[in-house]
């Protein structure tokens, strides 16, 4: 029983990270109908941004001395990483996606794949391919509850993910920017006619999605101990599946999708076979798209001729 609970706990924390990344996918797809393949790399860059800024703030000396990294500095690292990723996301949008916005749907898809490959290989060049240990921005505290091991990091992941998601929900439903985003996701041209600054709103969408991915990156590094330049590839893909599962364009759906994918992956690895932990995500994807393509919380869109 304890084993099952442990797998569930692990699945929840992994799933929360997928949820954070899935939010970026779902927001961008909702508005632009574009699968931002490069989003996984933005997640990776956010993790590295956290690594480098923490190192710059001397996290290694704190670790060596045994004292915990001050919470204030940890928050600073989070802010810096989120800002860096937001900048990266907006730049990608401006340089690679905006010029092809009106092109047939295939073109932006290929462009996104190209940007993703470019960032992967650039990261391999800049950061070397060697995996790096993530610094203890948050010192780990372990405790046992009924045979299940919990750490403060796992709890932090869940809490932070919830808070960010709540914040996002507030933003989308209570602010003008959020309203503009929702309008764009319904009908871009009508929104433009209503005087909404489409480019500005799209930039904001990318910025927000990217910064959430960066938060996910830092939390991932803390939980998974290691980061490497190719960490965004599979994780990004799984997060996309999570977004589709929950209903693409739907924010609470991204959360549910992420948690479900995380749980499925852990339980498959633990009880079925670890060899299929990646395959299960794709199987879920295929099942969802064949049975209920609009996702769990999504709305069916009628195609008018």
């Amino acid at each position: 029983m304890a084993e099952l609970l442990q797998q569930i706990v692990n699945g929840l924390s992994l799933g929360s990270i997928y949820a954070l990344i899935a939010l970026g996918y779902t927001m961008v797809y909702g508005i632009l109908k574009l699968i931002n393949f490069a989003h996984g790399e933005v997640f990776m860059m956010g993790a590295y941004a956290g690594y480098f800024s923490a190192s710059a703030l001397g996290v290694q000396t704190y670790e060596a001395s045994g004292a915990g990294f001050p919470l204030l500095l940890a928050l600073a690292v989070l802010v810096v990483a989120m800002a860096a990723s937001a900048l990266l996301g907006v730049s990608i949008e401006a340089l690679a996606y905006r010029p092809v916005r009106s092109a047939p749907r295939l073109t932006p898809l290929i462009t996104a794949i190209g940007v993703s490959l470019f960032l992967q290989n650039a990261a391999m060049l800049l950061f070397t391919p060697n995996p790096r240990r993530y610094p203890a921005i948050l010192a780990e505290v372990r405790f046992e509850v009924g045979g299940v091991i919990l750490t403060n990091i796992k709890i932090a992941i869940f809490v932070v993910a919830m808070l960010l998601m709540l914040g996002l929900y507030m933003l989308v439903h209570r602010t003008w920017t959020g309203r503009a985003m929702r309008a764009l996701s319904m009908n871009i041209d009508a929104a433009r006619l209503m005087g909404i600054d489409v480019n500005q709103t799209i930039r904001a969408t990318f910025a927000i999605g990217s910064s959430l991915a960066a938060a996910g990156g830092i939390l991932y590094g803390l939980d998974q101990i290691m980061i490497n330049p190719l960490m965004g590839v599979l994780t990004g893909l799984k997060a996309f599946v999570a977004a589709v599962l929950g209903g693409i364009g739907n924010i609470p759906g991204a959360l549910i999708g992420g948690i479900l994918i995380g749980l499925a992956e852990q339980l498959t690895a633990g009880y079925l076979s670890p060899d299929y932990r990646d395959a299960i995500t794709f199987v879920i994807l295929i099942l969802v798209l064949l049975v209920k393509p609009e996702g769990l919380l999504g709305v069916v869109r009628q195609e008018k001729v």
Partner: protein, 347 residues
């Protein structure tokens, strides 16, 4: 008046001429391949072989992605099925055929081509199996599902211990898989695949596929059996990828699931994009380009892949239709000649 209703004079049957031209071409190809094998260094021969395999991949993929407009980005999976299928079949058929036909070139040739066909058939069947449920989806969703299937296929091979799992399938001898692939066979199959695809593309079926690409709902309204045709195109293109896989397997010591990763599917997409999505000759050009350019770019060392990815993005931004767009090279040439003749005739 006496000619009205009369049949036109009977023209001589076309098939002897076609047969003759075909046989002569094959002989010429064989001669050329012997010449090149003797004259060129092995390294260059390998590049030419890989270019040919790429052309088959590109032309096949173009049938579904370009002509029919249904985007598949997991085609490396079908190449893998063709590769493993033909390698496994080849290893097991060879002793049987050697018993019947005796050891030697004839038995090898028959084993090889039979195994290629088996690999292609398996790939085509998988294409059917994947296409049947998936082709209900459109655009991005279809793309992601095909990606998913491609990965599932690769992961399955990674776990198949009887096929060597992650280490790879090297046949039964320490020397690896028999090296059947040669310039002649590769380019014979290139010709077959191009001719077959060309004929399909410029037939009634091809026109229906184009109609599906342009506007599927309108095509359905015009009584085009869209589902059946989409699945057909998908299966054919999977079979083509399977042939390429079989040819690839028999020029390597062995094949591994890692050789058929997502990056391979991306390479195939780059081939058809560079050449022109929707153009058979463009796909051929793209296939050759990808094989050659990566080798040429070796000087760039670790910057090679970064620049390759950048090239892809730049192409999409600057000239997404690629070199030829949807046009065909032979048509461009004939158009050009025709226009020149017209200009000369009317100064």
């Amino acid at each position: 008046m006496s000619t009205i209703g009369a049949l036109p004079p009977a023209s001589p049957p076309r098939w002897p001429l076609r047969f003759g031209v075909g046989a002569a071409s094959i002989a010429a190809l064989f001669g050329l391949s012997l010449l090149l094998e003797g004259g060129l260094i092995e390294y260059v021969q390998r590049i030419i072989l890989l270019a040919g395999i790429n052309v088959i991949l590109a032309v096949s993929l173009n049938l579904i992605n370009g002509t029919t407009g249904q985007f598949s980005i997991g085609h490396a999976g079908f190449m893998a099925i063709g590769a493993y299928g033909s390698a496994f079949a080849g290893v097991h058929i060879a002793p049987l055929l050697a018993g019947v036909l005796g050891e030697g070139k004839l038995s090898d040739a028959v084993t090889f081509n039979l195994s290629l066909i088996i690999g292609a058939a398996l790939a085509g069947l998988s294409g059917f199996g994947v296409g049947l449920p998936s082709l209900r989806l459109k655009g991005d969703y279809l793309a992601i599902v095909t990606l998913g299937f491609g990965e599932i296929i690769r992961i399955s091979f990674n776990n198949a211990t009887f096929l060597g799992a992650a280490t790879g399938y090297f046949g039964n001898s320490p020397a690896g898989l028999p090296a059947y692939t040669s310039l002649f066979w590769v380019y014979l199959w290139v010709a077959l695949v191009i001719i077959a695809t060309w004929n399909v593309t410029f037939s009634q079926t091809g026109r229906s596929l184009l109609a599906i690409r342009e506007d599927e709902i309108a095509a359905e309204a015009m009584a085009t059996p869209t589902t059946r045709l989409k699945i057909l195109a998908f299966s054919l293109s999977a079979a083509g990828a399977g042939i390429a896989g079989g040819l690839f397997a028999h020029m390597q010591a062995g094949i591994r699931p890692e050789d058929f990763r997502f990056e391979k599917s991306i390479d195939m997409i780059v081939m058809i994009i560079v050449g022109g999505l929707g153009s058979v000759s463009g796909a051929a050009i793209g296939g050759v380009f990808v094989a050659v350019s990566l080798e040429l770019m070796r000087d760039l060392n670790q910057y090679r892949l970064v620049l390759y990815a950048l090239l892809l993005v730049v192409i999409m931004l600057v000239r997404p239709e690629g070199v030829l767009g949807t046009r065909e090279l032979p048509h461009l040439v004939t158009d050009f000649l025709r226009r020149r003749r017209q200009r000369e005739a009317a100064p």
